[in-house]
Structure formats: structure tokens, C-alpha cells
Assembly symmetry: C2
DNA sequence: ACCTGAACACCGTTCAAGT
DNA sequence: ACCTGAACACCGTTCAAGT
């Protein structure tokens, strides 16, 4: 006879208002956290909110999770599950760009996920899976092991940073944001080069800039590798 | 007769225990915030702590600052004041690296400052000053205006991301951190490339990696510029 | 206009007490 | 071992009231 039975004799909790209170578990907590963090209208998670959604008090979660930072690491790796590492066929170059694009897309699904990718360096199975795929592609490109090892750091950093930067929803080329205002109002006397390049600074779609940036990184990495 | 006199007739607050209560002002608030955020033992700021340090209640700050995010933007640009844009003479290449090094050093003085550089894109006078200097150096390098404009975005992103990543104090090559554990424990069957490159992944000092990364970026940017 | 105390609606974490 | 209510020590922000 199990000690905890959701349909037990007490029967108090079997009201039909809630869809059968889910059992507490590490997975359930991570899943609910991910649900909150990727929710459209809020996008923010908290132990108290998770506890409430799981019909318990905040203290109960500490039986399954050491603290907030451990939960964040779990949620981050869970989110990275959606990153496709071999979406397309084709050259290593095409597959690298596709992988980075999938990566960035997943991180941008939620500002909070993007921010988490900084505070906590991902070390779960999905982070490893992505790193392995990146190393494989760089090896195909002829990059030696040392340069490849350092390069994956730069590539993941680039993806994470790009996602985090655009995480607040403001498009990069938004012509009315505070950035645009600062650039356009920059006095030509004090900042002649910014003034001269103000059009170029605001130009390009997010996609164009992403493609350009990946190209810069790949060229730089290849240039180092063969020297 | 001024309406508010710190040494007025009431005299109650002129006890010698506190060094003459500073007058409330936008600058005083930003200065106190920066002091807290760069403090060794804490490194975290809050409106309530600032208010307390300035001998008032949290509500009083809202007369000078719209909200938390505006304060963060002010603090960030104030912190960027310490970035030296023309520390050394020499080639554009040397000066570029020196500038980026000064930038990253300032951001790493406090984890919170590094994190702020993401959430809020810096648009104050110091951010402009740095951008202007970067454009000038890239122009000397022969990079055209469009490529230079997009390049400064990448360079600042790289600096900010690097600072944020190492902001938690853990050295990049720390052989006992959770990252090292994850890499070393990665099973050779599932992750053959990670396993094979595990030494290289953990190798290099922060400084060596920084130099390497700047070189990758410069090579990539120059390669794009002349195509 | 500037400043305030008090309240509102939240946080993460701890702890003694229950089962 | 798992779970709980209640407390602890915080948050940012609002608001009616004061000067």
C-alpha cells in the first residue's frame, strides 16, 4: 500500500475543479518552470509561482531542487532540448549556420531563457550535444582541435549574447527606440564618425546581421586555423 | 532663505554620527548605486538600499528617477566613464585591443555592471564616446563605413558577453568547476569529440583566450571589409 | 515640486513541526 | 524522506498626505 495516493480514502482533493493534482517531482517542477518562462504574457518564473501551480507551498520544492540557481540550470538545459543539430544536409558551412540559427531561435523564445544562458553556463546533456555537433562541423571544416575548442566558446557566446540583446522584443533596426534616438541626436561635432555612419549603424534586418556576423566569425576562425 | 537647509535651525539631523547627510539628487543616487554595485562584499544594488544610504525612504527616489531600468541605464553609462579609449599609442590594432581590454576590465569590476550591459543597451555619452573611438580605429584599419558600423556591434557584444560570462568569479580554466566536471565526465561513446578535445577545451588563461578572440574578430572583419 | 510613511504585491530561503 | 505553514529578510512601485 503506497503511502501517498492521490485518489486515497480522504478524497478531499478529488474535486473536479482541478485536473487531478500532478505528483511533485523534479521533472514536474522543471516542466512547470519552462511553461512559465515561455508563457506569452508573463515570461517570468518564480519558485512561489511554480509551487502555487503545483498546488503546494514554496518550501516543498526544496525537496527536489537545491536552490534557484540549480533550477535555472535544469530549465536551461531542458529548453536547449529544442535545438536541432542536424536540421539540414549540405556543406559544413550550411549546417553550422542552420545549427546556430536553431540555437538562437530557441533562446529567443523567451527573454528569461536567453538571460539564463549567461548567468549559468549550460552543462547538461543538451549543452553537450550542441558542443559535440559544433566540434564535428569545425573538424569537417579542417579546423584543428585547439582552435575548434576555443571557437565553440565564441560561437555559443555569440548566439547567447545576440539572443539576450534582442530578448526585450525591440527589433534591432527599430527606428524609434532609445538607441536610434541617441545615435541620431549625437552631435556631429563631438561624434563625427557616429554622425557620418548613423544610417549604416541602424541598417540591416536582424537576419542580415546574423548572417553577416556568422560569416565574420567563420572567416576569422578559419583564418586562425590555417595559420 | 532656502527652503531646505541641511544645517537649519531644527538641528536634529546635525548629529556628528553621520557625515552631513548628502542632499538628494540624481547624481547622488547614481553615485551611491555605483558604490553599492562595485562594493567588494555585496555587489548588488537596490532602490531600498540606496534610499537607506541616503537617509530617506524608497519612495523619495522616484522624484529623480523614473524607475529601476532608467537608473540601471544611468549607472551603466556612469561606469563606462572609466573606459580608456586612447590609453596607448601605436598601431590601430594595438589601440583597438587596448580599448577592448579597458572596456572588459571595467565591466568585470562588478558582475552586476556586466549583466546590466545586456539588459539595457548603453546609450549615454560614454557609450557614444566608446563607439566613436571604435569607428575611428576601424576607419584607420581601412574598413568601410557599413562593415565598421556592424562590426562595432559585434565587438561591444563580445566584450559584454565575455565580461558577463566570467562575472561570477570562476576562472575560465578552473579545473574543478561544474563545467570542467561536465566535460571530463562526458562519456566518450556519446560525445567522442568533446572527450578527445577535453584538454583543449579547458586550456588557456583568460588573457590568452581574450587575445585569441580579438584576433578572430579582427581577421573576420578585415576579411569582410576587403571583399 | 519635493518628500514622506505606509501599504501593496511580490521575492528566495529557512525552520520547526508534522506524517 | 517528504511535505507543510509560518516566518524571515528582503524586493520595486504606488499613493494619499504632508511641506
Amino acid at each position: 500500500m503506497p503511502q501517498r495516493d492521490p485518489f486515497g480514502a480522504s478524497g478531499v482533493q478529488s474535486r473536479r475543479t482541478r485536473p487531478a493534482k500532478p505528483p511533485l517531482s523534479r521533472d514536474a517542477i522543471v516542466e512547470e518552470a519552462l511553461r512559465q518562462i515561455t508563457s506569452e504574457d508573463d515570461g517570468t518564473m518564480s519558485l512561489r509561482k511554480i509551487a502555487k501551480a503545483l498546488d503546494t507551498g514554496p518550501a516543498s520544492l526544496y525537496a527536489y531542487v537545491k536552490d534557484m540557481s540549480e533550477l535555472q540550470a535544469l530549465v536551461l538545459d531542458r529548453a536547449l532540448e529544442a535545438v536541432k543539430v542536424d536540421e539540414t544536409a549540405g556543406s559544413w558551412r550550411d549546417r553550422l549556420e542552420a545549427l546556430l540559427r536553431s540555437y538562437i531561435e530557441v533562446l529567443m523564445r523567451s527573454p528569461a531563457v536567453a538571460m539564463m544562458a549567461f548567468q549559468t553556463t549550460a552543462v547538461g546533456p543538451n549543452a553537450l550535444r550542441i558542443a559535440e555537433a559544433l566540434l564535428e562541423l569545425l573538424a569537417q571544416a579542417g579546423v584543428d582541435q585547439l582552435n575548434a575548442a576555443w571557437a565553440i566558446d565564441m560561437l555559443t557566446m555569440f548566439v547567447t549574447a545576440t539572443a539576450a540583446e534582442h530578448a526585450d522584443g525591440t527589433a534591432p533596426g527599430a527606428p524609434d527606440g532609445p538607441v536610434a534616438q541617441a545615435i541620431n541626436r549625437a552631435p556631429a561635432n563631438d561624434y563625427p564618425r557616429i554622425h557620418a555612419a548613423r544610417t549604416e549603424i541602424m541598417s540591416g534586418t536582424g537576419d542580415e546581421r546574423f548572417t553577416w556576423s556568422v560569416d565574420v566569425l567563420v572567416r576569422g576562425i578559419l583564418s586562425r586555423a590555417q595559420s
